[in-house]
């Protein structure tokens, strides 16, 4: 697609204590891209996502959202985070709010929509995932898959420029994974997404870019076919082999 990248990172580093989790990561995401981050546990996928929207402060490197350097300490981190949507592995819905309140919270607080309009929009979103009828229940009444789809809708309700998905199917029962992936597949057509995932088949179907992370570095990057079908790097091949055998 034309135009400057939506999101760009250069030389990102992050350590926790003496453990280096990101050892210099570069990334470029164009509008409409779906970027899949794959790699073994502890390779830095989640940390990378958290650094991108400043939930973690990187130790070094720069990140641009559009043409704004968001690692500039003068940047307003809350305002920047509002421009990202995030979905976590554990859903993290607010248990004390109804499903509809969860979805409309950001619309009312960040986009400052009046309640009536926010709820109308929220109900339309919930209708899209077939949960409009459960709008006034609390999240604990929903199945894991329904909760995670609600979390996705909550994230896109704020109309983010980039949607970050952090292993969103890893905590789900196998039979609930499909419905969540189906929703992501629908969104992928119109949304810029960066997702950490273990669903390699799904990544191959939906992603425009696949990045293989290992030991805090991007070992290999390319189209899904390049990385997932005919990887050049030995470490990628090993990872895929182990993964398929397991």
């Amino acid at each position: 697609m034309a135009g400057p990248p939506v999101l760009r990172a250069e030389g990102l580093r992050k350590s926790f204590g003496d453990r280096t989790v990101l050892a210099g990561v570069d990334l470029e995401v164009d509008r409409g891209d779906v970027v899949a981050l794959i790699g073994p546990s502890g390779s830095g996928k989640s940390t990378l996502l958290r650094c991108l929207n400043l939930l973690e402060q990187p130790d070094d490197g720069r990140i641009w959202l559009g043409d704004e350097d968001i690692t500039d300490p003068r940047a307003d981190a809350d305002r920047i985070r509002a421009r990202f949507g995030v979905v976590f592995q554990q859903f993290n819905l607010f248990p004390h709010r109804t499903v509809l309140d969860n979805v409309t919270l950001a619309m009312r607080v960040i986009r400052r929509l009046p309640r009536a309009q926010a709820e109308e929009e929220g109900l339309a979103l919930l209708d899209r995932i077939g949960l409009a009828g459960r709008a006034h229940e609390h999240p604990d009444r929903l199945s894991g898959g329904q909760q995670q789809r609600t979390a996705i809708v909550r994230a896109i309700a704020a109309k983010p420029e980039v949607l970050l998905l952090d292993e969103i199917t890893s905590a789900l029962d196998p039979e609930l994974v499909g419905e969540v992936l189906e929703l992501v597949r629908e969104l992928a057509a119109t949304t810029t997404i960066v997702m950490a995932t273990h669903e390699l088949t799904f990544a191959r179907d939906v992603a425009t870019q696949v990045l293989f992370l290992d030991g805090g570095r991007i070992v290999e990057r390319g189209t899904p076919d390049e990385v997932l079908v005919s990887p050049r790097e030995l470490r990628t091949q090993e990872f895929l082999r182990r993964f398929r055998r397991g």
Binding site: G11, R13, F16, D60, G61, D72, P73
Partner: protein, 287 residues
Amino acid sequence: MTDTASDWRPSDIELGRRRFRKKQTLRSVLIAALSTIVLAVALWAGIVNTPGWAVVQQSFFDPQTFVEAWPRVAAGFLLNLEVLGVAAVGVAIVGTLVATVRTLRGPVFFPLRALATAYTDLFRGLPLIIVLYLVGFGIPGLQFTSGRVPAQVWGTLALILTYGAYVGEVLRAGIEAVHPSQMLAARALGLSRGRALRIVVLPQAIRKVSPALMNDFISMQKDVGLISVLGAIDAVRAAQIQTAEAFNFTPYVLAGLLFVVLAIPLIRLTDWYAARLRRREQTGAVL
């Protein structure tokens, strides 16, 4: 992974950001210091310039009375410490017992449970000072003890009764906040209910409510001063006597200072501990 950490040097951009953040921090500290000084000076000037300040200063902050009152008040304060130590142990025992009894299930335990509930209801509702009077003057009135029992013993008992009820409730909240799956996992290993509670659930429960427990402890620490109403010569009572002798309120200020000095390290410790707990909970899932 760790090998790359050693030979990495921050980039100029990162160094610039660090300089900027440091400057921001320094600025915030300076502003905070300045506003604190301005407020303190304003308060001080406001108080000192009141018409009655000279008189108040003389009757509350008289250095000579302070020095003269010190031995007696300090000796009384030792009694407070003694009572506090014994009461803390007693409260821990009573609180744990009550919390455990209140979480027992099964109809057999109904009388025990009802008793524990009645106890916490009663003693959380009663003002401490009334408990002190009831225990301190009521129980000796029964005359089942031979000879005179010192007032501080009854005071300690009253403190244990009152604070045991609070701490019992706090602990119960903690026990209920530990996820039921922990109890299940412990029982699945073959532990009895009691041992599961003691080895697995209670330690986690105490950790969860430790800020609240410390809060109760600090609160009790100053309520120890109330045993003076029973006639025990503690710091407050000693100060009262000194005040009556010197016609000067400075001994009260001295006693108050001693209690504050005792409380501050504990308050800081509580803050530090709460912050550590928070950090630990937040670092659970960084990767």
